[in-house]
């Protein structure tokens, strides 16, 4: 009868509600844990990006490991010839509009482990704004002096040079060439070799 049906409350028995509520609770907690984990991940990632941006903004020195090509006459047997020696220098330039006092210079291998480091305490290495110095691996540690004579050996084995200025953040080195030839400044001219016109460089 319709009257009887509407009078009956559409409730569920207590044990069934308990089971449903437990399932719901477990589902909610799982979703909650997933959401919380994602939230935490985003939080730490954002914090990391802040640290990175601040590091970049505070970068006070520009560090480069440079290929220094030097022509040298080498005598082999009774023959003397010109060889290009590929030596290495480390250039540190202060790009901050204030003096930069260098605290520590570390050399890292390809895996990021420290090969050698040297502390420059008591203001023994201070760079004026815009100034730069050239130094060598031997100035950091004598055990690294082989790299000064062979740039390509350094390229194979050294990961980076890290320079810690006082009050700033560490700067990683880049690789480069000292006095790199600017191709755009090389002129081209046509010369004759035998009967043929060829394009020759004038740098």
């Amino acid at each position: 009868m319709p009257g009887r049906r509407s009078a009956r409350r559409l409730g569920l028995s207590a044990p069934l509600v308990g089971v449903l509520a437990t399932i719901c609770l477990v589902l909610c907690l799982s979703l909650y844990a997933l959401a919380a984990a994602r939230l935490t991940q985003i939080f730490f990632a954002a914090s990391g990006s802040v640290v990175r941006a601040v590091e970049e903004a505070k970068k006070t020195v520009d560090v480069a490991i440079l290929l220094v090509q030097e022509p040298e006459f080498v005598t082999e047997g009774n023959k003397t010839m010109l060889k290009i020696m590929n030596r290495t220098a480390i250039m540190i330039k202060n790009t901050w509009p204030d003096i930069a006092e260098i605290d520590v210079i570390a050399v890292l291998d390809k895996s990021g482990n420290i090969m050698a480091e040297r502390e420059f305490g008591g203001g023994s290495l201070v760079l004026a704004p815009g100034s730069e110095i050239m130094m060598y691996f031997a100035n950091i540690s004598l055990s690294l002096s082989a790299y000064d004579q062979d740039f390509w050996l350094a390229r194979r084995e050294v990961g980076a040079v890290l320079v810690y200025p006082s009050g700033g953040v560490a700067s990683y080195s880049r690789w480069g060439t000292l006095n790199l030839i600017d191709l755009s400044k090389c002129g081209l001219s046509v010369i004759w070799i035998g009967e043929e016109p060829v394009v020759a460089f004038a740098c």
Binding site: L12, A21, S47, G112, T177
Partner: protein, 215 residues
């Protein structure tokens, strides 16, 4: 016989219980996110300031678009240096058949297929997504998912990215690259339309002494 008595059910209604649990869970998440946001906001503001300060500085991630053989460029550099010392060297372009080293004539072939090289000159960074844009539209999106240590690089051929091969076309097409890192930040990579310094890219095989280009 009288009317049958309807006994009220002693069970609970499931809906309010479920709703209550969901409301509590969602509320607590909102509170947690609000707390984290409050902690992070000053730092994000600091990042904005830092980014403004860093605007004119060189970024750690750089991209080079070039069509020059870097090993030949390195060789060319050595030849120019030798010529400056001896003064009797002629460097000709792209004619190896006319090379005569005993007569001081050297040929270099500088041109090579166009490459796009992305190098990291800063702390290690994990690149999750690279978006290549040109001609005002997204051309390709890659998910390299690799960590670039200091000095490490990625090399792409424009053809593989659906881009024109010409450096000039890329330059005039406002070619840009945006990297999304594992730190959930997007970095507009500085694109340079000249070859990189060969010393930063190539390697010399210690056994043969031969130059090894981009790998």
């Amino acid at each position: 016989m009288g009317k049958p008595r309807v006994r009220p059910s002693r069970g609970l209604s499931a809906l309010p219980v479920i709703l209550a649990i969901m409301v509590v869970a969602i509320l607590s998440l909102f509170i947690a996110s609000a707390v984290m946001r409050a902690q992070l906001d000053p730092a994000l503001w600091a990042r904005e300031l830092a980014a403004q300060g860093a605007e004119k500085r060189t970024s750690w991630l750089k991209a080079y678009v070039y069509d020059v053989d870097l090993c030949e460029l390195l060789r060319f550099q050595g030849l120019v240096l030798k010529n400056k010392t001896l003064g009797n060297i002629t460097i000709i372009y792209g004619r190896p058949d006319l090379e005569n080293q005993s007569a001081g004539i050297y040929s270099v072939q500088l041109s090579s297929p166009t490459r796009i090289l992305i190098i990291n000159e800063g702390p290690p960074v994990e690149i999750e997504v690279l978006a290549f844009e040109a001609f005002g539209a997204l051309q390709k999106e890659l998910r390299p998912g690799v960590e670039l240590k200091t000095g490490e690089y990625l090399v792409y051929l424009p053809g593989d990215l659906g881009l024109p091969e010409s450096v000039d076309a890329l330059y005039h097409g406002n070619f840009r690259i945006v990297a999304y890192t594992s730190l959930q930040e997007s970095i507009e990579i500085i694109v340079i339309f000249t070859p990189p310094d060969p010393a930063a890219i190539v390697a010399i095989d210690p056994a043969s002494g031969k130059c090894i280009g981009e790998v």
